[in-house]
């Protein structure tokens, strides 16, 4: 079996990112294909990586300097799974792109697009705290740029969203870096595994202060309430494929970074988990409640994403294997289903020219295929049986039940929020299928290249709903990896 | 590439290489080699504007004038600085500032730059603007507003050197 070094998943996109602008001078359409090729490479590499990492974590030492002196890439099942998620979602979004990015400079879009993927991949694979910061910045800056890419009707909102996102995002990175600095001051190292082994004996005050800074810094990326003010605007303002990337790639990587730091470095510090739990629940409720009253389709999806991120936070902070598996499952499901929803919503909006939910009346007749795909995504988020969301919901509930009386309360809260979610998604689905359209004309469905990614995602939503074992094969070791902590994995130096 | 351009290029490269030697202050072959390569590359990017005359600048007369100009100029600078020092330190601040106009016969831009900078560096006077042959000078103690007189007083000496060195 061919092995591809995980570092190449950064190296190749970078190389191609540098190559694309030159080739574009002589061959105008090349960026799309070069980007596609790059993403394909990452897709293959991450698939192989995932298979390898199920046996033993794949560790790639950069520059030949053994940890903790150099930077390492550590690809456990969890990291590899996320890398695969990132590359596959990027691939599918790549199919979805063309009509949505016509207005701007396409060459630059494709460069940013693959670099965003590279950044997110680096975020999930790196085993070095400062390197994580660097990759977070790559991802953020690429996101900012892609967000501001919109031209034409949405341009105004896009730039507004960008500047908000940038200000909050840069604030977050400053805090993250302060946290890193304090940790370095306390332990003298930046390697995550090494940190994990040194933190218990390090100065407690420093570590706690660092924790506060890091939770704030990464909490912004993970859309934790009240740090997520930028989120709804960013999702709404972005051009549709970029919204997909936000929901399915960027936030997932940010969330993973937060979880990893808390779990691996701080050995699932119980104080941190309590904070995450409380604010996870808040995020869940604020997100879902805000979505309840939306009239803007994308904004509703954005708030729903916030709610789901809250759910993930809650699931992870329960800190037992079942809940973690459920949380990971929800993470996957949300990436896939919300990606699908944003794509379908993008197609609706592209065809209708408005984001207003009331314009969706009777879309089931006007764009039946897209409507069906949207519905599948919605059902999965709502957690109906035979869709991925169902499995994640029951597993998370089972996980929370293991946490005693408080867990019971958590379960009830999760389900209440889930009920709110059901209501607003049902309203939309209801409109699509059950209301009479004001204008009976058939709208043009998206072309097959755009339909294809949606169909693939819908198929995955189903697969996750009816054959979860396939996913558990990866998720159970992934959850165990988190519970074990990185410290025991590569043991410091 | 015209002969003029070759001359300009070579001149630029030589100046840059000298600069490199000064910067590195060594004679390791590696440094020399790097200096040659980099000077050649950088010269290619800027030679057309760097000089008007090219290798012509290396004529002995120009070099000689240049060498003489340095102490002359420095002495003027020191003299004038003492003057300004006096004005600054004196409690009454004996200043009589104003903007006067002077004229120059210099044609080349580089020569004008030399002149203007010399004037500026000489305390008491500051070049505000140049338009063709007219220079506007801020003078900390205006002794005359007449263009001819002022020209001689402020820039006369420098102009003569500049004419030889740069034109």
């Amino acid at each position: 079996m061919v092995n591809i070094d995980p570092t190449l998943m950064i190296g190749i996109p970078l190389f191609m990112g540098f190559l694309i602008p030159s080739v574009a001078i002589v061959w105008k359409n090349s960026p799309r294909y070069l980007a596609g090729f790059t993403i394909l490479f990452n897709l293959i590499a991450s698939t192989l990586l995932l298979i390898r990492s199920l046996n033993a974590p794949v560790i790639s030492v950069l520059g030949g300097w053994q940890p903790p002196y150099g930077i390492v890439f550590v690809a456990g099942p969890l990291g590899s799974m996320l890398a695969l998620l990132i590359s596959s979602m990027t691939m599918l979004t790549w199919f979805y792109l063309p009509p949505h990015i016509k207005e701007g400079n396409e060459t630059k879009f494709y460069m940013l697009f693959i670099l965003l993927m590279a950044g997110a991949t680096g975020m999930v694979l790196t085993g070095d705290l400062f390197n994580l910061f660097v990759f977070t910045e790559i991802t953020s800056i690429a996101s900012f740029s892609l967000l501001a890419y919109s031209r034409g009707k949405d341009e105004k909102e896009a730039v507004e969203a960008t500047i908000k996102y940038m200000i909050i995002g840069s604030l977050s990175s400053a805090f993250f870096l302060i946290g890193i600095a304090l940790l370095y001051g306390a332990t003298g190292t930046l390697n995550m595994a090494d940190l994990a082994s040194k933190i218990p004996s390090a100065n407690h005050n420093l570590v706690m202060m660092a924790l506060a800074m890091i939770i704030t810094g990464l909490g912004i990326e993970a859309e934790m309430f009240p740090l997520n003010g930028w989120t709804p605007d960013a999702y709404t303002g972005a051009t549709h494929p970029v919204s997909v990337m936000f929901a399915s790639v960027v936030v997932k990587a940010g969330f993973f970074a937060l979880i990893r730091v808390v779990f691996l470095i701080f050995g699932a510090a119980t104080e941190a988990l309590q904070i995450l739990m409380i604010f996870g629940l808040l995020t869940l409720f604020v997100g879902e409640s805000s979505a309840l009253r939306q009239t803007d389709l994308k904004r509703m999806l954005a708030y729903s994403s916030i709610g789901q991120m809250g759910l993930l936070l809650v699931a992870f902070s329960l800190n037992n294997q079942t809940a973690l598996v459920g949380g990971l499952y929800a993470m996957l499901n949300h990436a896939i289903a919300k990606g699908l929803l944003f794509m379908a919503a993008g197609s609706f909006i592209f065809a209708l020219g408005t984001r207003d939910i009331s314009a969706l009346n009777g879309m089931g007749k006007r764009m039946p295929v897209t409507s069906a795909l949207f519905t599948i995504g919605a059902f999965s988020i709502m957690g109906l049986p035979f869709f991925g969301g169902f499995i994640s919901k029951i597993v998370i509930i089972a996980g929370s039940m293991q946490a005693g009386t408080e867990g019971m309360l958590v379960a009830i809260l999760i389900l209440s929020a889930s009920l709110i979610e059901l209501v607003y998604f049902l309203r939309v689905v209801h409109r699509i299928w059950m209301r009479e359209p004001e204008d009976d004309s058939r709208l043009k469905e998206a072309p097959f290249t755009q339909m294809f990614p949606m169909i693939v995602l819908a198929a995955f939503v189903f697969l996750m709903g009816i054959y979860p074992q396939a996913f558990f094969k990866v998720l159970i070791p992934a959850a165990q990896e988190l519970l074990r902590g990185l410290g025991t994995m590569i043991g410091g130096a | 590439m015209t002969a003029g351009n070759v001359s300009k290029y070579v001149y630029t490269a030589i100046i840059l290489f000298l600069l490199w030697i000064v910067l590195t202050s060594t004679f390791f072959w590696e440094e020399i080699l790097a200096g040659l390569v980099l000077s050649a590359m950088v010269a290619a990017m800027g030679y057309s504007l760097f000089t008007d005359k090219g290798l012509g600048n290396f004529s002995p007369k120009r070099l000689a004038y240049f060498l003489v100009y340095i102490p002359v100029f420095l002495w003027d600078v020191i003299k004038a600085n003492l003057d300004v020092a006096y004005r600054v330190l004196s409690p009454k601040m004996p200043i009589k500032p104003g903007i006067v106009e002077i004229h120059t016969d210099l044609k080349s831009d580089i020569a004008k730059l030399g002149l203007a900078n010399s004037i500026t560096l000489t305390p008491g006077t500051l070049t505000l603007d140049i338009d063709d042959d007219r220079l506007f000078i801020h003078w900390i103690y205006v002794r005359t507003t007449d263009i001819k007189e002022a020209s001689e007083e402020i820039g006369g000496k420098f102009e003569r050197y500049m004419k030889v060195i740069f034109e």
Partner: protein, 120 residues
């Protein structure tokens, strides 16, 4: 008293004089009445001061001399340019001369030029 010692003393002298001129320049900036007059002091005295100090150090450490000269020359070349640019910009931005200034030939010139451009 060998050659290097002599150089060192000269260097020390230059550094001291340089420091003095830096101080004078700063004092001029502090005391003089308007931007243009402050520029006079600021450019000249500080340039000379820095020049002296840097060359002085170069003399005290002869192996540094080439680089020291380079820095000094660079300052000598750039400071008048930036001062000039500042003065010009200030004037064009409408910052008035000190009210006890005796003559202003630049203002009429600018108005004249504007009129010409306006006609075109």
């Amino acid at each position: 008293m060998n050659f290097y010692t002599v150089l060192e003393y000269i260097g020390m002298f230059l550094v001291f004089v340089g420091a003095l001129f830096l101080f004078l320049g700063a004092l001029g900036i502090f005391r003089l009445p308007d931007v243009y007059n402050r520029l006079q002091a600021g450019t000249k005295a500080t340039t000379l001061g820095a020049f002296g100090a840097i060359i002085g150090i170069g003399l005290m450490r002869p192996e540094w001399l080439p680089k020291a000269i380079l820095i000094a020359v660079f300052i000598l070349m750039t400071n008048p340019i930036s001062s000039h640019a500042l003065a010009r910009a200030s004037y064009r931005r409408g910052i008035k001369l000190w009210d006890r200034s005796v003559v202003d030939r630049y203002g009429p010139y600018l108005r004249e030029k504007e009129e010409k451009e306006g006609k075109r």
